[in-house]
Amino acid sequence: MAEKVKLIDVAKCTGCRSCQLACKQWNQLPARQTSAAGTYQNPPDLQPNTWTLIRFQEVVEKEGVKWLFRKDGCMHCTNAACVKVCPSGALYHSDLGTVGIIKERCIGCKECVAACPFEIPRYDSVTDKVYKCDLCLSRIRADLPPACVKACPTGALTFGDKGDMLKLAYRRAGELGGDASVYGDKFVDGTHVLYILQEKPGVYDVLPVKPHVLLSVMAWKDLLKPLSLVAAGGVLAASFLHYIIHGPKTPDEDDNHKTEGGA
């Protein structure tokens, strides 16, 4: 199947949180009691049972206050650090370019939590597993849009083939003008969730300006991981060569006749 992309037009978002609710409904993620924290943002952060969240910000400007809504959730990277570090294959790249998750395989090692440049995966200590959005893979396979897209009443969310979505995104960003930009296609080899941001990326909470697979992840998985086998294999080969070329280090004349050390 062709690569799919979810497009988030933050300028069209009214912060109604239909997407948040639809996500919970479709994925059967019951809400937890929260308390008022003086912000519209609720729950306060992504949770093991909250895979998408409208982040709410008040930005004070010269004339008045501006409200920013950003739907946060998994970005479905092409070069996904979480997939790179996952030891069990619970996190994987689907043929649609999205990052799927097989709950049964998750061993709760939390390695993806530290690796994700967008701080998305959430660990649940009760089930000892990690959870995140899978872009409603089961719905996409049934030719349905993700639940959040289906529920969005303003058209802030659209879903479709990667090429179409990219075209749409750049056209819309051009229309918006000013600081508007497309966010997502230029890093981690392209994300499968794209934003049309009205403000500069740095304005939005928790959104990295230049997300990338961390150096620590690359040192670990691209360098040290293969090196561990290469080094051990090298030692084994060297030992073998030593044995057949130089020979073992044996004691000289044996006082105890020919005893190969005890026994």
Partner: protein
């Protein structure tokens, strides 16, 4: 046990050695099961990768105990190089790699063994610290946690490679060595070849224990 064999290690030393060896081996094998998808089957053998994770973590606790005893026990004997004879030994690679007419005599541990001990001690401690932080990552800042994984992998690279050196030189690469860690009794010829200085010291201080003989000058000092 044959008459005339010399005691090289006591039971405590061997227990500590094998505690470290067994826990280290379990950690290496289970660690490989998590590091490479192609080794995930090791988890299947242990009732799933999640069980393997727990075996890895709890073996780690046993490893902590073993590494503490290892360092306490061998620090003075194997943790300090004695110059210049150790340097001379290293300059000729202990006669292991090319022909050397006269390899400098060494005590209980040669510089190669000392280097191995130091690597195991240093990276063992690194493995413990990084491993514990990886086990409980939410108690630490994420910037720190992120670097624990490559450090843990680096420790594995060093320890895993050294393990095979140790395996080779403890068995077929140096015949007569293995009994020192099995029952503790080695031949005089092996001691003379491998640890001549130590043999002499034991003889001089009366600490030499020969199988089937009364300990000579038991009240050495």
């Amino acid at each position: 046990m044959k008459k005339g064999l010399i005691k090289a290690t006591d039971a405590f030393e061997r227990i500590v050695h094998w505690s470290l060896a067994v826990s280290c081996l379990i950690l290496c094998i289970t660690g490989l099961g998590m590091m490479f998808h192609s080794f995930n089957f090791i988890g299947t053998l242990m009732g799933g990768l999640k069980s393997l994770k727990y075996i890895h973590n709890f073996s780690g606790l046993f490893f902590i105990l073993a590494i503490v005893f290892t360092i306490r026990m061998w620090w003075k004997e194997a943790g300090i190089f004695s110059m210049p004879e150790d340097l001379e030994w290293m300059m000729c690679a202990g006669g292991y790699l090319w022909h050397v007419d006269k390899v400098p005599e060494v005590g209980k541990y040669n510089p190669g063994q000392k280097a191995f001990f130091l690597a195991v001690a240093f990276f063992g401690v690194i493995m413990v610290i990084t491993g514990l932080i990886m086990w409980f990552p939410f108690y630490f800042p994420v910037e720190l946690v992120r670097w624990m994984y490559p450090l843990h992998a680096l420790g594995f690279v060093v320890i895993f490679a050294f393990f095979f050196v140790h395996l080779y030189l403890g068995t077929i690469g140096s015949p007569g060595s293995l009994p020192a860690m099995l029952h503790g009794w080695v031949t005089r010829a092996w001691l003379k070849k491998q640890h001549a200085k130590w043999l002499r010291e034991m003889e001089e201080t009366g600490k030499l224990e020969v199988f089937g003989e009364e300990k000579k000058a038991a009240h050495g000092h």
